[in-house]
């Protein structure tokens, strides 16, 4: 019968090197996550999500799943702590980012006083396309909220508070900017009239359905469990057949939604917002595509990142 060697963990402040905490009788198969919980007991205001522990002050922080005895340390481990600042979980982040645009757009649609000239306060635009645009925009963000609450399965990751302020300013600000023009008393309806609006509306709806289908599919891929890792593949749903051509069809559909919304409203700010969104999503898609290609040896070579056959 052998005795388990217990580890000792000494936690120092990464910047000042001052001694913060000494943990003894730590099980060798504890994870970094366990150590963070123990550290949290001594410092209640530094909850685990806020902690970054590393073996060297200059190193990248250790992952929560890393196991203590697998690290290159003796039985006494010295770790350096860094405070990441207040953190917010991904669900809260998404909710904050979606609820803003949804509500700010409505402020402009109902022409809340002091936005436009006093004469138009609390009226609504007579154009049918403006009503349609409000419905589309609202449905887009309601769909996002529903997905955030019921569909998406986020990893335990969090985001620093400062990033959330920056992201929300961007999303809320942009939706206010484009809502201002669409609901303006001097708004000019699309040049090709109902034909343009109806075609664009149809494509918008197809892209929204497509985006939703992809999110459901990705959800099921995750559900299969962490033991057998598979990459997402087309299913019986025709919307998912875009997986034959791209790694991130959810981003492709999202760009499609916003492009059709710009054509439907014929509004340059919407087109500019679409361009910015496309640039950001292309970067994310390329990253994901690279990760998939590296992880899976049998990854289909036909697939591009975000635009079929092109990017």
């Amino acid at each position: 019968m052998s005795r388990t060697t217990f580890f000792e963990v000494r936690v120092l402040n990464g910047k000042t090197k001052e001694h913060l905490c000494f943990l003894d009788k730590v099980e060798p198969y504890s994870t970094i996550g366990d150590i963070k919980s123990l550290f949290h007991k001594s410092y209640p205001h530094w909850y685990p999500a806020r902690q970054a522990l590393s073996l060297d002050p200059k190193d990248k922080s250790l992952r929560d799943e890393d196991i203590l005895q697998n690290l290159p340390v003796g039985t006494t481990a010295t770790m350096y702590f860094r405070d990441l600042g207040p953190q917010i979980g991904w669900t809260m982040v998404f909710l904050a980012e979606c609820i803003g645009p949804l509500l700010t757009y409505l402020l402009f649609y109902f022409r809340v006083p002091y936005i436009y000239s006093h004469r138009y306060a609390l009226t609504s635009s007579p154009h049918q396309v403006v009503r349609l645009a409000c419905a589309c925009h609202t449905c887009h963000y309601m769909k996002k909220l529903i997905e955030t609450i019921f569909v998406h399965r986020f990893s335990h990751g969090t985001m620093p508070l400062r990033t959330i302020v920056r992201n929300c300013s961007y999303y809320w600000g942009c939706s206010a900017w484009l809502a201002y023009y669409i609901n303006h008393p001097l708004y000019t309806p699309p040049s090709y009239g109902e034909l343009q609006v109806n075609y664009a509306l149809f494509i918008f709806m197809m892209c929204e359905l497509g985006n939703f289908s992809i999110h459901l599919t990705l959800n099921n891929v995750r559900a299969e469990g962490s033991r057998c890792r598979r990459f997402p593949a087309p299913t019986k749903n025709p919307f998912t057949w875009l997986f034959f051509f791209v790694s991130c069809p959810n981003y492709t559909y999202e760009v499609g939604s916003w492009m059709s919304f710009s054509i439907m409203t014929q509004c340059l700010p919407v087109a500019l917002y679409t361009l910015l969104g496309f640039l950001q999503m292309a970067i994310w898609a390329k990253g994901k595509h690279r990760a998939y290609s590296r992880e899976f040896k049998d990854y289909p070579s036909v697939r591009m990142a975000i635009i079929p056959l092109v990017l």
Binding site: Y181, H184, T188, T265, Q266, C267, P269
Partner: protein, 132 residues
Amino acid sequence: MDISVVQSEDSVLLFVSAWTITEIIRYSFYTFSLLNHLPYLIKWARYTFFFALYPMGVTGELLTIYAALPFVQKTGLYSITLPNKYNFSFDYHSFLIIVMISYIPLFPQLYFHMIRQRKKVLGHAEDYSKVE
């Protein structure tokens, strides 16, 4: 289209001279660095002259923008109004005011960055002179 009424303002002389001196020193610094033969004088000048030149340049720029504002407002320079086919508008006058306000957070950041760089770059020289 240019704002000729503003070109003869004193503020223009202020920032043009500040920038001219800065750029001559800065590009000499880069050139000599590339040739691996940087005279200490150039390095010292680059990290010392900015104490005066930077505020001079910023003051000149801000005064010039301020002088141009009435003209921009009167002529609607670079501005697009509603209604138009693409449902877009841009007010250059408001844009210039926002630019002027943005100097308030940005100038201190850049200024203190230069001061920090100076400590890092010129700090060594003090150590060497002590050794000698």
